[in-house]
Amino acid sequence: MDVSISQLLYSVLAISATVSVYQLAAVLQNKLDAIWLQPMLVTIVATITILIWQDIAFNQYFNSTWGLNALLEPAVVALGFPLYQHLEKVKKQWKSIVLVLFLGTLFAIVSSFLITMLLVADYSIAVALSLKSVTTPIAIAIVEQLNGNVAITAFAIILAGFFGAIIGPKWLIFIKVTSPKAQGLAIGSASHAIGTTTISNISYEHAAFSSLALIVSAVITAIISPFIISFLALLV
């Protein structure tokens, strides 16, 4: 009885601390207009600092915040809403969008996996980096399925988000990709939600195509990555 009550208290404490730090970072990011104050990154760094400083075991923190973790599944399902909203608008370009995203994702998985095996030679990291372009909840589900390193995925996903969000738009104009649709698809497929929220300020078309690419490339990745990765693992 005592144990479960103290466990409950830990849960309330750990979840409310996590949510408060996250909200604080979100408010600061908005006020200061500073993209690097990304709430997820700030909260992860702050939590790691506190755990090391107070000598708290990760498992204790993780068990106490299972409530947040349990919301991952409905969070993925909720992404069906923006997909439903854009379905009507892209009916005509549907086939070419899927084809471009299929080629892009295939290329991304193969290049990330092979380069990582070449440089680091660690299967769990190679799987983690092959799936870093996909939105977090979906990537975590696939990486777990393929025995990759989930924590490294979560970390690399944030990095990929930042790179694309900060330098992506300028880089695309530099290589003469000027159409809003092409820019949206590129950023959404490479930098998922972080990139999408950043370029959504440019125009509605950017927002629509970016969130479409974020979801469609995640679905394509989930379907093809188990086959590609087990095939590539045989080669190297």
């Binding site: 991952l72 909720a78 809403f81 439903y84 290049s111 979560a154």
Partner: protein, 122 residues
Amino acid sequence: MTLLKNNIINALYSALALLICVLLGRATAYLLPLLPSSLYGLIIFTLALHFRVFNAERIKSSVVWSIKHMGVCFVPAGVGIINHLDLVKQHGIAIILITFSTTFLLLSAVGFLYQQYENSKE
């Protein structure tokens, strides 16, 4: 007051819709284990909205709100990197370089291909 009441009812309606899709997704994944159950749930939710099984207007505000705030749910998984600090020390720079370069390859490939498609239509 009635506005608040409506908001609460719509939030419960949305939660129920999501729960139904989560459960259907799990059942599908159990019968056809190709995709993670959450992705089946996503597809079922999209189709259900498309075929007007659920009322999209009632769902909109709560779902947009949860998508905006869902980042907090990924924090525990991300903190897990604490158990792999030795890996990060050993391969951190390689991880950052690989992430950086392959993100740019993907970004350029998708942007370039779709731009070519748009140019060819004109």
